[in-house]
Amino acid sequence: MLHARVVDIAKEQIELIKAEKFIASSKCGASIYFVGTVRDLNNDKKVIGMTYDSHDALVIKSFEEIYQSSIKKFNFDNSVVFIEHIKGQIKLGEISILIGVACKHRNQAYELSRFFIEEIKKKTPIWKKEHYEDGDSEWLEGNPIQKD
């Protein structure tokens, strides 16, 4: 079971409680939450915030494809995945991505959670613009999108 959304910061925030509710299941004995936040330093520059840009339709498609490939790769019974990624400008410490995973066993949950974040980095069309203390801002270079 999958929940996948792009959350517009102008309208709402990413909330851990929504993930907890979605992945709660008596069939699963292990839950993992991966929370990505904005950190204060990159390449020796003081960061004060980040703007995330997203091709929403392709992002959702990408999350669904990653979920399908996880089923093929791991074949874990009853796994549940919650993914939300932010779009818009957020401040230091605010959540950019939340991946909640529930599986029968802990090793499955760790494996699945790691798989999702690594695949998203390679395959999901989201871009970051850093905002610095001196008022400057810059799009991060990124990597060409990988296709299956």
Binding site: G36, Y52, D53, S54, H55, A57, L58, K61, H85, S96, I97, I117, I120, K121, K123, T124, P125, I126, W127, K128, W139, L140, E141, G142, N143, P144, I145, K147
Partner: protein, 89 residues
């Protein structure tokens, strides 16, 4: 023919409107579109090398939200999205 290029990531620096309109020859492909964007960079951004590198590393997405190859034939008035190198999370 006219196409509307939707901008994402670093390509948003091309216009504050979130898109640019480009005029291409009939039966143009994504390869031709890439050439046209590079010409646009020559004209409007003095051939900015960083922008050209970004365009040449980008992929493109059709109006049907499908990633398309360089041989994809673009339709008149089609909306194409540029997908520069990514980096979410």
């Amino acid at each position: 023919m006219n196409i509307k290029l939707e901008l994402f990531g670093a390509s948003r620096d091309f216009s504050n409107e979130g898109f640019i309109n480009l005029n291409l020859k009939e039966k143009s492909t994504i390869r031709d579109l890439r050439t046209a964007i590079n010409k646009f960079i020559d004209t409007d951004f003095e051939g900015n090398k960083s922008y050209k590198k970004m365009v040449n590393s980008s992929t493109f997405c059709s109006e049907k939200d499908e990633m398309v190859s360089d041989n994809y034939k673009i339709l008149n008035n089609e909306k194409i999205a540029i997908i520069p190198p990514i980096g979410g999370g």
